[in-house]
């Protein structure tokens, strides 16, 4: 690594983003963002819409391409090297705001597609694995249905199970509850809390401040493509340093 490492956490970070910048045309969406995530750490990224928080985590598995700075996942740098991209994506699961389940496949087929095609598992083994994770997210009885036959909350839990079937070491959540009806948010958050308790490394973009308070080890606040401040939740919520952060928290916690 050419980057001289900052005095950071003692353990080697599984994700290291240093001085990452990204532009859409002339518009800069990420300004020199650096973020380290250690194994087992739960990071919550929050901020107003358009602040670049989704873009930030989408850069980690290269759904978006960063133009300057470096991103390392388990010591492997994310470049345009196809092999690296493939290896890194196998380590990382991702859950999307709109679930993005494959509508033409049953729940079970959604879950076994990755294991069979990328991990070259037997169909029977892939199905066992899929049923294991469907039980984990508490909907094994829905395995034969098609995604659009399920409720939003159920779909999102299937999406979480689909990612888990790749047995990733890191999970990225891009506003996983924003498209859900209020009564379904809890079932998804409960699933995520269980996952956090099992020791999964997680980066979660969310507006659910309750979740951030109880689950996060580190809360990152972003605005206008910059990382404004970060810290453990008690510090972040109890005594925010920056004016922007205070304004944001005032607004979001009033409800």
């Amino acid at each position: 690594m050419t980057q001289s490492a900052k005095p950071g956490p003692s353990a080697d970070p599984v994700i290291r983003m240093s001085h990452v910048s990204k532009w859409y045309g002339h518009f800069q969406v990420l300004h020199d963002v650096s973020l380290d995530v250690r194994k087992g750490e739960r990071v919550v990224v929050c901020g107003p819409s358009g602040s670049g928080k989704s873009t930030l985590i989408r850069c980690i598995n290269r759904l978006e391409v960063h133009q300057s700075g470096q991103i390392f996942v388990k010591g492997l740098e994310m470049t345009d090297n196809v092999k690296n991209i493939d290896t890194i994506r196998r380590h990382i699961g991702m859950v999307f705001q709109n679930f993005n389940l494959f509508p033409h496949l049953t729940v079970l087929e959604n879950l076994t597609l990755g294991p069979m095609l990328t991990r070259q598992m037997k169909k029977s083994a892939a199905e066992d694995l899929a049923m294991h994770f469907l039980r984990k997210v508490r909907i094994p009885e829905q395995s034969g249905k098609y995604p659009l036959q399920l409720s939003g909350g159920q779909q999102q839990r299937v999406a979480i199970a689909r990612s888990l079937c790749m047995e990733p070491e890191i999970m990225l959540f891009d506003e996983p509850t924003s498209a859900l009806d209020p009564e379904m948010i809890k079932e998804v958050l409960d699933t995520m809390i269980e996952l956090a308790e099992s020791g999964m490394t997680m980066i979660v973009v969310t507006h659910e401040m309750g979740f951030a308070r109880t689950v996060a080890d580190n809360v990152v606040f972003m605005a206008d493509g910059r990382k404004v401040e970060s810290g453990p939740p008690e510090e972040f919520f109890g005594n925010p340093r920056e004016e922007r952060t205070r304004a944001f928290l005032d607004q979001i916690l009033k409800h």
């Binding site: 598995n61 290269r62 759904l63 493939d86 994506r89 196998r90 990382i92 699961g93 991702m94 999307f96 709109n98 993005n100 389940l101 494959f102 509508p103 033409h104 597609l113 990755g114 069979m116 095609l117 990328t118 991990r119 070259q120 598992m121 037997k122 169909k123 029977s124 083994a125 892939a126 098609y146 659009l148 036959q149 999406a159 689909r162 990612s163 079937c165 790749m166």
Partner: protein, 398 residues
């Protein structure tokens, strides 16, 4: 009673005439009855008119003419036919010609259309621009002009004596495309059977391979084994017959060619014209289908580390097909109907022969009725097949 239990389902409250007059269902029914009556009246008027006019001109009605001897020759026939055969058989010859040019046109239009459509969304700048230019040219020029254009191109090819030689295998001339064909031999029928067997075995083997992958997780690329089966079996049969390698090469003889096989200039011109025209529309349909697949689908597939060809095969294409198939059906149907342009360049299709029949017998109404019915049946059959396929690729939502 209604006052006591307003929420309960009981006898309908009595409606005043005014309520009925303003009710939606009553008005809908009235409009439909009025429309049906108008259509029936118009139909009756037209029928009456035709019957009267035919009677005045002393033209017999009915389909008896189909049994009469046609007394005209047809240049291109797929079934045995001579001037001594009936009008009915002449129309059948036309139908066969329509079907053959349409079938060839559909295959060519589909292959070009899918290739150009995928090129339209390619990240290769040059390829994408070329595809766009192609689409804009072929779909913005009336199909009849394109057919006449290709007919003119072929007509202006040199005569057989100066024909363009195609690498010693055939000739391109104003007599059409003439090419070398293996001389008839008993082995050919067996080779055809072997080809069929090869295709069946290849499908069977692919299923086996899929089953094997599901059972063990190991992916076997079946492309080359399948090609081997499909090509190899006929090859083995051919060798078994002592490799009969006599090929009938076309030679220039007099003002024409001898030997080989020839596709007529009219067939080539018509097929080229209607298939290129349709390929432009099919390309746009394919592009729309691919682009209609939400970005999130590809992102989700990437996030589980699927390789690009698996993403196309298992995620994008199955979803794109459900958007592609219905408009593709319309294109196939319209290509079949466009083949009736044959009449302007003299290809003996159903309409062309139907016109001749009409002129000779004077039974315009019946002849046109027969043609319309045949096109309707062919088009409906095409739609039916495509709808069945569409049901296979449809997505279950509830």
């Amino acid at each position: 009673m209604t006052d006591a239990n307003p929420g309960l389902r009981g006898k309908r409250p009595r409606r005043s005439p005014k309520d009925i007059l303003y009710s939606e269902s009553f008005r809908t029914a009235v409009y439909q009855i009025a429309l049906a009556a108008a259509v029936a009246l118009l139909g009756f008027y037209l029928y009456q008119n035709v019957v009267e006019n035919l009677a005045r001109q002393n033209i017999a009605t009915g389909f008896g003419f189909l049994e009469q001897v046609s007394q005209f020759e047809i240049g291109e026939t797929l079934i045995a036919y001579s001037a001594r055969d009936t009008y009915g058989r002449a129309l059948a010859v036309g139908l066969m010609n329509t079907l053959s040019v349409s079938a060839a046109g559909i295959v060519v239009a589909t292959v070009i259309g899918f290739s150009v459509g995928i090129a339209r969304v390619s990240s290769n700048w040059l390829l994408q621009r070329l595809a766009t230019a192609y689409v804009e040219i072929v779909r913005n020029i009336p199909v009849i002009l394109q057919v006449i254009f290709w007919a003119a191109v072929i007509r202006n090819l040199p005569a057989p004596r100066q024909a363009v030689e195609l690498w010693g295998l055939g000739f391109l001339s104003n007599r059409g495309l003439t090419f070398a064909m293996p001389s008839a031999h008993a082995a050919h029928l067996w080779m055809l059977a072997a080809l069929g067997a090869g295709i069946a075995l290849a499908i069977l083997a692919s299923h086996k391979a899929k089953r094997h992958r599901e059972a063990t997780g190991r992916y076997i690329d079946m492309l080359w084994p399948c090609v081997g089966l499909i090509v190899g079996l006929p090859l083995l049969v051919w060798l078994g017959f002592g490799a009969p390698h006599e090929i009938s090469f076309p030679e220039r003889r007099g003002f024409n060619f001898a030997g080989g096989a020839t596709i007529s200039p009219e067939f080539v011109a018509l097929m080229t014209g209607i298939s290129l025209y349709s390929s432009g529309f099919i390309a746009e349909i394919v592009r729309a289908g691919i682009q209609a697949t939400p970005r999130g689908q590809v992102e989700a597939a990437r996030s589980i580390a699927l390789r690009p060809r698996f993403i196309l095969r298992y995620v994008v294409l199955p979803q794109a097909l459900r958007v592609i198939v219905p408009p593709l059906t319309s294109q196939y149907v319209s290509l079949i109907k466009n083949s009736s342009i044959a009449v302007v360049i003299g290809y003996p299709d159903l309409v062309n022969i139907g016109n001749t029949v009409m002129n000779q017998t004077g039974q315009a109404v019946e002849a046109i009725a027969v043609m319309m019915l045949v096109y309707l049946i062919v088009s409906l059959a095409t739609s039916l097949l495509m709808n069945l396929y569409n049901r296979l690729v449809a997505i279950k939502e509830r």
